[in-house]
């Protein structure tokens, strides 16, 4: 049985990754999860300088999921390179760094810095965070803006780049095609869906930012649909995510066309989720006599 999967020339021991922003840089989950068991750790978004993020409350629970408006609080690339990368290097897992910015220059800055670090296998470009006012999301909601930033980053990136798509669009395939045309090596989807919760007793927004990005099991059917649509529309590999709680969920994404999957909000609900998903995928492959994980990719009829 071979659970390996390859994306843009990088081979992962299994298809299970952590969704950016839900696992820190692995440090906080080291107590729960043997990081060596993971296909990859995808880190929290990092910018060229520290970002303070949004005011609190930043998180709220909703039916079958949660809203967040962290606003990409992060220590900036300097601290990240000094602290988080060395930490992750200790483990036998791939490192994918999620990159955020407010302008193309911000992104280029970070991408160039990371180019010097061979331990980083791939870069995931977050152009789809709905919680940051300036820039960012605009790149993820307009096909031409996405094309431009992707091709610009490709000029500077030493590692393969994954463009992370926003689900808050009319036609996700249009975005996927623009990223592919601009040279993206892979796509990841979905980022959170913009939502809102109102406390009816206080008549106030549950999140200080008014809106927050929705994640968790509630969004899974939307995410699976988008992964399927994108898999039909482009040739580059896809990392699927959105509400994955179990191996069954992960397999659903893989059958829909994902070459790998990420576990996000469910880490908060059960810190052992990632490893359980790894084991459950193996069980499924054993039960159905699947020799290679890659045979499952896009295998829905």
């Amino acid at each position: 049985m071979n659970t390996q999967t390859t994306i843009a020339g990088v081979t992962f021991k299994n298809p299970v990754m952590t969704a950016s922003g839900t696992f820190g840089s692995g440090m906080e989950y080291e107590e729960f999860v043997d990081l060596n068991r993971l296909g990859a750790v995808v880190t929290k978004g990092v910018a060229n300088v520290p970002w303070p993020g949004n005011p609190t409350p930043r998180v709220a629970e909703v039916y079958g999921g949660m809203l967040n408006a962290i606003g990409l609080q992060n220590p900036g690339i300097d601290v990240f390179m000094e602290r988080d990368i060395p930490f992750l290097k200790k483990y036998d897992t791939k490192i994918i760094v999620n990159v955020c910015g407010k302008s193309v220059e911000d992104y280029v800055d970070v991408v160039e810095r990371l180019g010097d670090e061979p331990a980083v296998s791939m870069l995931e470009i977050n152009v789809s965070c709905p919680n940051v006012k300036e820039g960012a999301i605009a790149f993820g909601q307009k096909a031409d803006a996405l094309y431009n930033i992707t091709s610009e980053l490709k000029k500077h990136a030493k590692q393969p780049i994954i463009m992370k798509l926003s689900p808050n669009v009319t036609d996700i395939t249009e975005m996927a095609k623009a990223a592919e045309a601009a040279g993206a090596d892979a796509l990841s989807l979905i980022n959170t869906i913009t939502g809102m919760k109102i406390d009816i007793h206080r008549r106030k927004f549950a999140i200080a930012n008014k809106t927050g990005g929705m994640s968790g099991p509630a969004i899974k059917p939307i995410a699976v649909r988008m992964v399927y649509q994108v898999a039909q529309a482009v040739k580059i590999p896809i990392i699927g995510m959105g509400g994955i709680a179990t191996a069954e969920d992960a397999i659903e994404f893989i059958l829909a066309g994902a070459s790998a999957v990420s576990v996000g909000a469910m880490n908060f609900v059960d810190p052992y989720t990632t490893v359980k998903v790894v084991e459950g995928i193996e069980d499924y492959m054993r039960t159905y006599h699947v020799e290679n994980l890659t045979d499952l990719i896009g295998a829905v009829e």
């Binding site: 820190g24 906080e28 303070p52 993020g53 609190t56 930043r58 998180v59 609080q73 220590p75 810190p271």
Partner: protein, 258 residues
């Protein structure tokens, strides 16, 4: 070592209207300390996140935890239905806890307001014998939950909003009315109370350790959902935003901007 484990309910009773007192058997008790909390998971899967609840007491054998909580919504309502023998999933132990060593040989205030009272019990139990414990607790009315337990561990002063028992008003009024003094303060309660304590401690130039609350997702420092503004750059994100769940919930009042 933090863990998510399945614990067993040992007992549960309603000790005041909508306030429940639950003992659970769990190995997590072995390293639990005052001011720490656990995440309690509702079973109904429409509601997924763990509910942060303070540790109210650790039994002497250190194999059981007591929590005291108010029904605030769906999760706590579910917890209140648990009975002896039921299982409950918990994550813990979380947070830093109170720096009890700071009380060594000192006159201490242990101040709790409303549902911030429970952690004061375990704190009173853990404070060094050399500390002089003045426990000042504020209730809404005459439903004085945990009063007897607290009295076993120090001198208790009571304030009630409706004036039915002790000082009419809040814990600050109780300090005044009883002419109390302290070298160090430990406190947990609603934000206005903590703000008043921070101010009081600054004026009196004494240390105050306050336990903060914020909506949480992960409880372990990963999501950055639960931050509080800090005076100095925080050590994690370097942006004056410390994580209440891991860097706190207890902070030196001087260090946070609330």
């Amino acid at each position: 070592m933090k863990k998510k484990i399945t614990a067993t309910v040992l007992s549960q009773k309603e000790i005041a209207p909508r306030i429940f007192d639950m003992w659970i058997a769990t190995e997590l008790a072995a390293c639990a300390k005052a001011g720490q909390f656990i995440g309690v998971y509702p079973k109904d899967r429409s509601t997924l996140l763990p509910r942060p609840i303070s540790i109210c007491q650790v039994n002497d054998k250190k194999d059981a935890l007591r929590i005291v909580y108010r029904i605030a919504g769906q999760g706590t309502a579910e917890f209140s239905s648990y009975q002896e023998g039921d299982s409950v999933e918990i994550l813990g132990t979380l947070g830093n806890g109170f720096p009890t060593e700071a009380a060594e040989g000192k006159k201490v205030f242990l101040m709790g307001g409303g549902i911030g009272i429970p952690p004061m019990l375990e704190l009173a139990r853990e404070l060094p014998a050399s500390a002089e414990k003045q426990i000042i607790v504020g209730y809404r009315d005459d439903q004085l939950f945990l009063k007897e337990d607290l009295e076993k561990n120090g001198t208790v002063y009571i304030a009630t909003e409706d004036g039915s028992v002790g000082t009419k008003g809040n814990v600050m009024n109780a300090i005044e009315e009883n002419h109390l003094q302290a070298d160090v303060i430990f406190a947990c309660g609603p934000m206005p109370m903590l703000r008043a304590i921070k101010k009081y401690a600054e004026e009196k130039k004494i240390k105050a350790y306050i336990s903060l609350e914020e909506h949480m997702a992960c409880g372990v420092g990963a999501c950055l959902g639960c931050v509080v503004k800090t005076k100095e750059v925080d050590h994690h994100s370097h942006v004056h935003n410390a994580r209440i769940c891991t860097d706190g919930p207890v902070f030196d009042a001087e260090e946070v901007e609330i």
